[in-house]
């Protein structure tokens, strides 16, 4: 039996969090090696295991995978969370790209200059309630099923619910007018693997608070 996947990243959510969610939801145990200092990163680069000198990187099945999308695609396909055929996969891809776009905006907030932050948050909330949440609510309404695609759990459900939690951290009221999204969130959260991941002590990472950002600034000098 091969070893557990090993995740190389900073000790924070960033671009690795979706990968953690997907592995956890699939019931896959994984290890993590945290990059804590610029020297750690330099070492990884010198070791030649970062194809484009970037992280996330995941050691899995004898590969050093980079590019979060490629990593997620591999995990989803491997654990049958990617639809049953290419048409279902196309729908899943479409939905998760939308999720990724919104998630990206939220993820980059901590790096936003202080004077632009409020405007950025307003923009995110506006996009959430006018573009993204309605789109997914509509999908769920159109087929009335428990899952987004093919009446089966897929990465689309997991990644959307991950996003719902992030949005909730930003502003809990945003989910108020989307009953089907709320129901999906409850349903997915109650899956045993996801429930476990949501409990304290799991490998899920907390959001970045002011203190964490300050510490990061000191270490990484920005």
């Amino acid at each position: 039996m091969a070893g557990k996947p090993k995740l190389h990243y900073f000790n924070m959510r960033g671009r690795m969090e979706s990968i953690r969610w997907l592995l956890a939801a699939a019931g896959v145990e994984f290890e993590e090696k945290f990059i804590d200092t610029p020297d750690d990163l330099e070492k990884s680069k010198k070791d030649g295991c970062l194809m484009f000198q970037q992280v996330p990187m995941v050691e899995i099945d004898g590969m050093n995978l980079v590019q979060s999308r490629a990593i997620l695609n591999y995990i989803a396909a491997k654990y049958n969370l990617y639809g049953k055929d290419i048409k279902e996969r196309a729908l899943i891809d479409m939905y998760i790209e939308g999720v990724a776009d919104l998630n990206e905006m939220i993820m980059l907030l901590p790096g936003c200059p202080r004077d632009q932050k409020d405007a950025k948050i307003t923009q995110i909330k506006e996009k959430t309630t006018n573009r993204y949440f309605p789109a997914f609510e509509k999908v769920l309404k159109s087929h009335g099923q428990d899952y987004l695609v093919g009446n089966t759990l897929s990465r689309a459900d997991i990644q959307l619910v991950e996003l719902l939690y992030s949005v909730e951290e930003l502003d809990p009221s945003l989910l108020a007018n989307f009953p089907l999204l709320k129901a999906l969130k409850t349903r997915i959260s109650n899956l045993p693997t996801v429930k476990k991941f949501l409990q304290p002590g799991s490998q899920r990472k907390p959001p970045l608070d002011e203190k964490a950002i300050e510490e990061a600034r000191k270490v990484w000098k920005f």
Binding site: F10, F52, Q54, Q67, N73, R89, E97, L108, G111, K221
Partner: protein, 320 residues
């Protein structure tokens, strides 16, 4: 390590004709093709060996062009942007497609009202009864449908990885057109620098290590098409950029000579020119955004932010 069976089916290459010709088994990467691939022996013999091998790799030769499903239809601005990789993929696979160019706000709003734009965005591709948006979703679907993937999830993963890298580079170039004119020189230098120090060396090394003609699995794939596209785009910014990359140069020539790609590279094809001020204006008109909002939206989303400083920041420079 046992690999679970890929949920993506192997019947990528469908035929509408009875199987009166030999079944070609295990021709593609060890996957057994469940359906017959039709090769008209007569036309096959007329094609030079190199080209026929490429067609074989691409999946099928359809001797009767009339027997085809409806053409895919692309909805986008009249320019490269995020649609260009999709045009390349279709062209390389020999798939004819139609295009509708968005020129007015009204047309865009109608597409939205009709519920075709899932997230209110283009690119939009109408194909196989679906209205698909999201560039990578479309590319993945087309690649799986029209051309070969790797022989296993492991190789498919390499294709994904390489394609994502080249897409990053191309998006930097696409977005540079929307930045202020004063920053143009600086942006070009940044992009060319990234190409020469981060992306091209990687692919040069891949080609060197295996010594094969194609990036993945010794077969023509989506990764090869996108790398060629990216290389040509960077060359438009700096003609000598390939001077230190002999294998990439050879690769460029080789892939450019594939008949479908050669055709796409000729004048009069559906390939779009580099973005100019008309294109930028058209996009701004249809999407009705100001420069300020644009820089917030698209620079932040889905692109690797230009590294403004030399210091390493976890959230930008080194996260992918």
């Amino acid at each position: 390590m046992e690999m679970k069976e890929s949920p993506i089916p192997t019947e990528h290459f469908h035929s509408n004709r009875p199987s009166s010709l030999p079944l070609l088994e295990k021709i593609f990467f060890g996957k057994v093709i469940h359906e017959t691939i039709i090769l008209n022996p007569a036309s096959f013999l007329k094609i030079p060996e190199a080209i026929s091998q490429i067609y074989r790799t691409l999946g099928y030769i359809n001797p009767e062009p009339g027997v085809m499903a409806a053409k895919p239809k692309l909805y986008y601005f009249r320019g490269r942007g995020r649609m260009e990789p999709i045009r390349w993929l279709l062209a390389a696979a020999g798939v004819e497609f139609e295009e509708e160019f968005l020129e007015t706000r009204e047309r865009y709003e109608k597409l939205q009202k009709d519920g075709h734009l899932l997230f209110g965005q283009v690119p939009l591709v109408e194909i196989d009864g679906m209205m698909l948006t999201q560039t990578t979703a479309i590319l993945s679907y087309l690649a799986a449908k029209e051309g070969p993937e790797g022989e296993s999830q492991v190789l498919e993963c390499s294709i994904d990885m390489y394609a994502d890298g080249t897409l990053d580079l191309m998006m930097m170039i696409a977005l540079a057109a929307f930045k202020p004119r004063e920053e143009k020189e600086e942006n070009i230098a940044l992009v060319v620098g990234k190409a020469k120090t981060r992306y091209f060396p990687v692919f040069e090394k891949i080609l060197k290590d295996h010594g094969e003609d194609f990036l993945v699995g010794n077969k023509f794939s989506w990764a090869d098409i996108q790398l060629l596209e990216a290389v040509l785009m960077v060359e438009e910014l700096s003609a000598s950029v390939l001077s230190d990359f002999p294998l990439l140069k050879a690769f460029k020539t080789r892939i450019s000579n594939i008949p479908t790609i050669k055709k796409f590279l000729q004048a009069g094809s559906q390939r779009k020119p580099p973005p100019d001020s008309h294109y930028v204006e058209a996009v701004k008109t249809v999407l009705q955004f100001s420069w300020q909002r644009q820089s917030e939206q698209t620079i932040v989303s889905r692109s690797k932010v230009f590294e403004k400083s030399k210091t390493i920041t976890p959230s930008t420079a080194n996260a992918d």
